[in-house]
Symmetry: C2
Subunit: 160 residues, 2 copies
């Protein structure tokens, strides 16, 4: 990274941390994020899980959803995600599906754990083979590929 | 599982597959899901990624968000998630964060890949060490724990 890039990363991360801090007094969790589009447009997000009763409303997810809605494009290729804290698997997955090109974070998972936000068991769920916390089972169903057959037959489909 | 449980699982999966199939003609992806609360209340979701320009609007995420909003509780402990297709890491993470107790699916990742929906590279991202597809970098920031300090000092916080 060049000096200008480093300055930009720092500036966006500072903003994410600022959003995270301000969000606490607003009744949300201590997390903030910004998505910066290739043209410089910025979309901000804060954690709204408890406030909106939405377990998926992590700051990163909120910023990604706003960026996609704001640009009217579910593909955010070329955009960067800056977040106040190391993204959990939900946020990494959201970023992957949104085709985000790079992710930068400030606090790490250890800082978060020290504050009582421990994602370790979530990482373990993906890293290990122990799914006892939430069993996932396939059940045999004759018509299981019917949706895909309908999809193949639907000529007006929008592929993604 | 007893016979009645098996029948219930089949019935909910059939509904998820039905939603998935119907969603194609409605301009969405071929995926459907239902969340069944412990009291039997049902919340449905379909894939709305392209329709809503929301890369996180997978059927499972939509059903989970509706269940949490509908019950006004971000914690869906005791609820089960039934989905037409094996959940990707985004949906598994959303289910974990929502404290979903069990997940059932009909089609698997191979059925999906055959239809052009290949999550394999996403699984590889989490299973492997190769993050070149989307680099994630920590950047040193002096005030990185400021949000957590604010959180610790905020007595009215809602823990989760």
């Amino acid at each position: 990274m060049g000096r200008m890039d480093e300055d930009a990363v720092r500036r966006h991360l500072e903003r994410a941390v600022e959003l995270a801090t301000a969000n606490v007094a607003e009744g949300g969790g201590p997390f903030g994020a910004v998505v910066v589009m290739p043209d410089g447009t910025i979309f901000e997000g804060t954690n709204r899980v408890t406030r909106d009763n939405d377990p998926t409303a992590h700051a990163e997810v909120v910023a990604i959803r706003r960026a996609a809605a704001g640009t009217r494009d579910f593909d955010l290729h070329g955009a960067a995600l800056y977040t106040s804290c190391e993204p959990c698997p939900l946020c990494l997955s959201a970023a992957l599906w949104a085709r985000i090109s790079a992710v930068y974070f400030a606090a790490d998972r250890h800082d978060a754990a020290a504050a009582g936000f421990d994602d370790a068991e979530f990482y373990e769920y993906f890293d290990g083979d122990d799914r006892s916390r939430m069993p996932v089972a396939r059940s045999e169903l004759a018509q299981r590929t019917a949706p895909f057959d309908a999809w193949a037959a639907f000529t007006a489909r929008v592929e993604y």
